[in-house]
């Protein structure tokens, strides 16, 4: 049973959440209540998931391919909507948002892709600026924020380079800069180290950790055992759409 698989540490944490329910609700950043997502052909991607993620937490989503990690992330980004259950972001039910409000929700969520998804014909600076430009930020804001974030990710010297002129790690840093340039409350990362070597991954994780320390909630889907075991952060394990483990300071297993 999924409930029995949740370890004692996690149960203790859940109890804390219950005891401080009123307070946690106020500072809770992400909350899933009995969320089920079914794709065409009755494929259950997520089954009856209930999770609370507080502001500033760093959470790893682990599990084999097809376990529901990407669906979990897509649900948080309102790329998908659940068949059952409710998802709250900063106390708001995102399922009840009108389609026209979804872009405004997404401005509070940064998204990091496994394959970076950088625009080949734009420079590093333009790729990051693009994220602000398309949400209508004034030019003076863009001119101020983009160099600052590029400095944070360590790419100040490569602002005029094109993605093809960068290493995989550098490209992922640009992707992180783009996701974080608007200072979102939440950062979602789908296998951000999946396309880069282990050494470079360490640098990427340091960067995500640094961003997390600014108070940004980070939810990261990963297969990388080494990273999870080293970071020792909260781990939510999925298997065939079910949460089978929710462990504070957990390991990959």
């Amino acid at each position: 049973m999924a409930g029995e698989s949740i370890d004692k540490e996690s149960k203790g944490r859940a109890a804390t959440v219950c005891a401080l329910d009123g307070r946690i609700t106020r500072i809770g950043m992400i909350k899933l209540e009995n969320v089920t997502k079914v794709y065409k052909g009755d494929v259950v991607a997520l089954r009856d998931a209930t999770v609370d993620i507080a502001k500033g937490e760093f959470v790893f989503l682990v599990g084999p391919s097809g376990s529901g990690k990407t669906t979990f992330i897509k649900l948080l980004n309102r790329e998908e909507v659940p068949e059952h259950g409710t998802i709250y972001m900063a106390g708001k039910d995102i399922g009840s948002l009108g389609a026209w409000k979804v872009p405004y929700l997404r401005r509070n969520i940064g998204f990091i892709f496994q394959d970076f998804k950088l625009l080949r014909k734009k420079t590093v600076y333009e790729n990051v600026a693009f994220a602000l430009e398309v949400i209508g930020k004034p030019r003076q804001v863009i001119r101020k924020q983009v160099p600052a974030i590029l400095e944070l990710v360590g790419l100040s010297s490569k602002v005029d380079n094109f993605p093809d002129q960068l290493s995989g790690g550098e490209q992922q840093r640009v992707s992180i800069a783009r996701a974080f340039v608007n200072r979102p409350l939440i950062l979602l990362a789908d296998e951000p180290t999946g396309n880069i070597d282990p050494q470079t991954s360490v640098g990427i994780m340091r960067l995500l950790d640094r961003i997390n320390r600014t108070g940004t909630t980070v939810v990261m889907a990963t297969h990388d055992r080494g990273i999870v075991d080293t970071m020792r952060r909260r781990v939510i394990e999925l298997d065939r759409g079910m949460i089978i483990r929710d462990q504070a300071r957990g390991v990959y297993e």
Partner: protein, 298 residues
């Protein structure tokens, strides 16, 4: 937050340039279809103006001299009343003739100013019982040369043939233009879908970072609109040429006296131009809207 004009212009220009051949094909198709569509209306206006006096079954017109005496008028009226071959007739006095003249030459006010009402001939518009061309010709000949009669013009087979052929030509123009407009709409749609697909990754990122649907859509909508407007301008130039070189050419030919009045007034040309532009906007809105609704779902 509103889309910046700089961004909209840059993105639209990039979209248009990326598919330059398809853009050119779209603009040409829109231009030709709107030209045919507008041409249909101009042609109809011109034919209508040229044959207005023959409407209502009128087969010949007896033009009187402006200075014809009442006795001469009375003689003509008596002849018209007594002829069993005449079904009916209408007398158009000088003032009524002047009103028609003013309407017909509305775009040349200097001509209207130069011609006083009392210089225009009154006329009898006659409807015979038998519209057969030979009968009409024979009947109209009876009035030629009578005292006070200036001339007799009959709506012979040429006029009827023109009306019939004009109707057929009009239908061909109209059907052709509708088919081409449908093709133009599909081309706009294809062009925008192609632009959307070639920018798929960019659009995905825009959605992820929180660009609104309208922010994403507007450059594509402007793309469709600019193709249609450029096409409409080409069509307008073509219509101007049609009006000034072809339609006006009929007027300049004295040998086609029966087609006197085959012209398009300024207001008719203006109405057609506005309609062509309106259709262009409509076509672009339909093409763009279908493309973005289908391929840019939130």
């Amino acid at each position: 937050m509103a889309i910046s004009p700089r961004y909209a212009v840059r993105e639209t220009a990039q979209n248009l340039w990326r598919n330059i051949l398809l853009t050119a094909a779209t603009v040409i198709t829109i231009g030709v279809s709107l030209w045919l569509f507008g041409g249909f209306f101009l042609f109809n206006y011109a034919v209508g103006n040229a044959t207005a006096r023959w409407e209502g079954g009128i087969e010949f017109v007896v033009w009187m001299n402006p200075d014809a005496t009442p006795a001469q008028d009375a003689a003509i009226q008596t002849a018209l009343k007594e002829s069993p071959e005449i079904k009916g007739w209408t007398y158009v006095n000088q003032q009524q003739a002047y009103e028609e003249f003013k309407k017909l030459f509305a775009d040349t006010p200097e001509l209207i100013a130069a011609v006083p009402a009392d210089k225009l001939p009154p006329s009898y518009r006659v409807v015979p019982t038998d519209p057969n061309a030979d009968v009409v010709r024979e009947l109209s000949n009876q009035f030629k040369g009578r005292p006070g009669v200036r001339s007799v013009v009959s709506a012979d087979e040429t006029i009827r043939a023109i009306q019939t052929q004009a109707d057929k030509i009009g239908i061909v123009f109209f059907v052709g233009s509708i088919i081409l407009l449908a093709a133009a709409t599909l081309l706009i749609l294809t062009n925008i879908v192609s632009a959307i697909k070639s920018r798929g990754e960019e659009i995905e990122i825009m959605k992820v970072v929180g660009a609104t649907n309208w922010f994403i859509r507007i450059p594509f909508m402007i793309e469709g609109l600019s193709q249609a407007v450029v096409g409409a301008l080409g069509a307008w130039a073509g219509l101007w040429a049609l009006d000034n070189w072809v339609i006006s050419g009929f007027n300049d030919t004295n040998n086609l006296a029966l087609l006197d009045g085959f012209r398009v007034t300024s207001s008719e040309f203006m109405q057609t131009s506005v309609m062509v532009l309106g259709i262009a906007v409509l076509v672009s809105v339909i093409g763009s809207a279908v493309a973005v609704a289908r391929y840019l779902d939130a």
